[in-house]
Point group: C2
Chain length 342, copies 2
């Protein structure tokens, strides 16, 4: 299996992250990608440096034009306002408030954001574009005949909705990949999100659509980020009704019960007659992950890969989270190894 990567992700380098009342060193950091690349090469996977190009058309089918303009100009506006440090949102248009975008960058930042775990700096937009191009190229590899590929996206994407950044995410790479398959003629595709956190952005994007199934295995929203989505009764609406599946699980979940949810999600995808599979691949389900509460072991990722291969679908893996640095490379690699052996 080929994996697509780029060095440009390093242009996004948040200095601090707001976490449980404190400013801390960001969990989502550039080192993650280097560690994954090193390990993938070590175990024999072929890395391809991204040489794809920026094309806004597929992105505009997923994100709103005003949101894209915000992402593109935010840093400049932040500097022009005389602000210091990374751009982070501070106030948010929560319930009963106006959903009108203010003019001032401080208000705009909150309008387009769901929290202040996620900051924007000088190179963020370049990194975000490259992350999307990496996913686009990985999709192309599969569209051209490979059974599977992996996009080493950074920043990740699954918390980004049509017009909101947050949870370290800006553009929803997995959603764009799904859209590309549809645009190229697939009638139906499925996104399976196995990151620890609910893929709230992806769910939101396809909630009213019947051509993209979304299934997510995640920490239950009562106890874990993103907190305000991921319940089992979120089943889609309109044309999308019945094609959204959430599998929230409690703290301490080990592979045996996690795999039951995976089995169930796979059954739904099989029933859906999907032409392709996009896996939002987070390995923050790992027992040592610093911001999650599942208890998967490194060997479990081999088993997970084997299970996924049973779907026998053209598959694009899109990297999401995973913050236990010492094992992030091996855990990602194990999913691919399992997948290829299955």
């Amino acid at each position: 299996m080929k994996f697509i990567y780029s060095g440009s992700h390093k242009l996004h380098f948040p200095q601090a992250e707001f976490h449980r009342g404190q400013m801390v060193t960001p969990f989502e950091n550039p080192e993650r990608i280097d560690l994954i690349i090193d390990h993938l090469e070590e175990v024999g996977f072929t890395g391809i440096k991204c040489d794809d190009f920026w094309d806004v058309e597929p992105v505009l089918k997923i994100h709103s034009a005003d949101y894209l303009e915000f992402l593109e100009t935010a840093w400049e506006e932040w500097l022009a306002a005389g602000f210091k440090g990374d751009l982070m949102a501070g106030n948010f248009p929560v319930r009963r408030m106006q959903q009108r975008c203010p003019k001032h960058i401080d208000g705009k930042a909150g309008f387009y954001s769901s929290g202040n775990d996620t900051s924007i700096n000088s190179g963020t937009w370049e990194a975000v574009k490259t992350s999307y191009m990496t996913a686009k190229q990985a999709q192309k590899v599969v569209a051209n005949g490979d059974a599977a590929s992996l996009a080493l996206c950074r920043p990740p994407g699954h918390h980004a909705s049509r017009d909101l950044f947050g949870g370290y995410c800006f553009l929803n790479n997995a959603a764009v990949v799904a859209q590309l398959f549809i645009d190229q003629g697939a009638e139906k595709v499925a996104i399976l999100d196995i990151d620890f956190h609910h893929g709230n952005g992806t769910q939101d994007i396809f909630y009213g659509r019947g051509d993209v199934l979304f299934a997510s295995l995640h920490g239950q929203p009562e106890d874990s980020y993103p907190y305000y989505s991921g319940y089992t009764d979120e089943a889609g609406k309109m044309e999308g009704e019945g094609s959204n599946f959430n599998y929230p699980m409690p703290p301490g979940t080990t592979y045996s019960s996690w795999a039951q949810s995976l089995e169930e999600a796979i059954r739904q995808i099989q029933k859906f007659n999907s032409a392709a599979l996009i896996v939002s691949l987070g390995v923050d389900t790992y027992k040592e992950d610093p911001i999650s509460f599942f208890c998967l072991e490194t060997d479990d990722y081999l088993r997970c890969g084997i299970q996924l291969s049973k779907l026998n679908l053209p598959t694009v893996f899109v990297l999401e989270g995973g913050y236990a640095l010492e094992m992030v490379g091996q855990n990602v690699a194990n999913v691919l190894i399992g997948f290829e052996s299955g």
Copy 2:
């Protein structure tokens, strides 16, 4: 005019405030009250130490029971979760997200908050209760026959809505005072908010009610906090339609144009046949205020007080913002001096 104060506000002592991408020393700090007390006494106003009691009944007419329970238990839950530092919210249930309260304090904090400028520490709930009691006692002074009184509330209140804290506010003291007048037999009362920032919490609380007029003079929402409310077309709904008045003004506004909005608000209050007036008194309209953009001079507050006295209504002043420490005492005092001379 008597003013009511308490020393217990000092129990609320946020260590840092998230402001435009950085953690800074809070603008809303305990020193503000000491400076105002000193100056009020210096110019001859009589301070009365709050000896009122906690009574949840009036508060429950303004805030939801679950929100009050959150405020009461938040700090304990934060500590129990093993978190360090002040409680601050990080993620928020913005558009299209679930409006279900999570179980975990980190998610709860975001559910009940509109931003992370506002933190909770060990003594916040005691201070918040005292701030309310201070307002309650000031209302009593006027109900018992005084023409006017001032409640030196801290934390302030006008950004707190039925179930949201934010903008340094937790309980909406002005709203409770209005409710007390109504409960004591007033048919209609008016709240005039002259703080620099839109009184979004107060507006929200009375938006559907016809017995409380709300009028606010403030920095236009396109450019200033709270960003997501304060437009002129927010006119109330249902029974409240036509009794909500917003006067947003641009950066650089001086007293002459500010006073025109005040004149207009006063006309609306006169037409409303209000039995009492509650003034949400912020002096962050002052030209040197560090987080605002109006250009009022210290003498303008005398004129403002004179204008307010023309309404000739029993009046409770409730302190909101004002962060230019060197002049906060004099600016507050001038409003009262003008009011009494008018």
